[in-house]
Assembly symmetry: C2
Homo-oligomer: 149 residues x 2
DNA sequence: TTCGGTCGTCAACTGAAGTTAATTCCTCTG
DNA sequence: CAGAGGAATTAACTTCAGTTGACGACCGAA
């Protein structure tokens, strides 16, 4: 039939919301809409008003123009394809979840010190971490999403 | 080479023009702007007027919206990233040049019969082809573009 | 030649994309 | 509790993406 049931599709708003939730500022909190607007203005490229970014995130407006899509993708450090292709979006989300984990200072500490270890040691440590996760009742694969409070 | 070789970033207009030149209808000619508009209307998705497609190709308008970018990419069978990322565009262009070559009936015949040959035979034949190209004074890499105007 | 069709081009117009500015909602701080 | 400051939200407005319709060039047929 003509149109596939558009059920599984993630909307632009959902993707943008996900970016806001996962990509945080250096201080740790979510970026505000004005933060993003200011950063884009400072970057010299095309600018977007904070209000409009809010509308996009809330889903009141979808269908931005090419230049605005580029600017947004540039700010969050994802390829513009993120907003189009759902498969690419998932792949990128996996990397983003890593970035989200890195927000935890102690995780970051572990990562920094683990860098440079021999493969053998790394797998051993990984195994240990998995065990602990198991003990804590966490899922074994990358969860990614922040648990609802 | 009609195109300026490595003139930095390719514009949207240049990319769209390239698609028109390489992706042809079943009858063999280039698609007309109305053809594309009609096809999109028939596809049920978002529609674009023929005039606007012309404006985009000519470079009078750049900066289309997300939905129109998707529709255009869908029609020409390329991912929307084609219009954003230049590297992706080059990679896809390589495949498109193959498609352009396939328009030549005899090339198509060779390809059809070469399919299924052993790797050894294929490399041998490829080498032969390269020799012939050399004799004919053609560049060794995939040229792609139609030489004349 | 003239008629009829199609396609590319142009310019005026419409409506949605995007902005500006005012208002409400929090959340700190004294 | 007041009230300052900063963020989210709403509404009114402006701008430009996208359409409509007309015109002229081109091509084949009568």
């Amino acid at each position: 039939m003509p149109d596939t049931p558009s059920e599984g599709r993630r909307t632009l708003a959902a993707k943008l919301d996900h970016l806001f939730r996962t990509v945080h500022s250096r201080e740790g909190g979510e970026y505000s809409f004005e933060d993003v607007a200011d950063a884009l203005r400072a970057a010299g490229g095309p600018t977007i008003s904070g209000t409009y970014i809010w509308q996009l995130r809330k889903g009141l407006r979808d269908n931005p123009t090419k230049r605005h899509l580029e600017a947004l993708a540039g700010f969050f450090g994802v390829p513009p394809a993120y907003f189009f292709d759902d498969e690419a979006a998932e792949r990128i989300d996996a990397e983003l979840s890593l970035l989200a984990a890195m927000r935890d200072a102690s995780v970051r500490g572990i990562a920094l010190r683990a860098a440079g270890l021999s493969p053998k040691s790394l797998t051993a440590i990984l195994e240990m971490v998995e065990r602990v996760r198991e003990l804590e009742g966490l899922p074994d694969a990358a969860g990614g999403d922040t648990p609802e409070e």
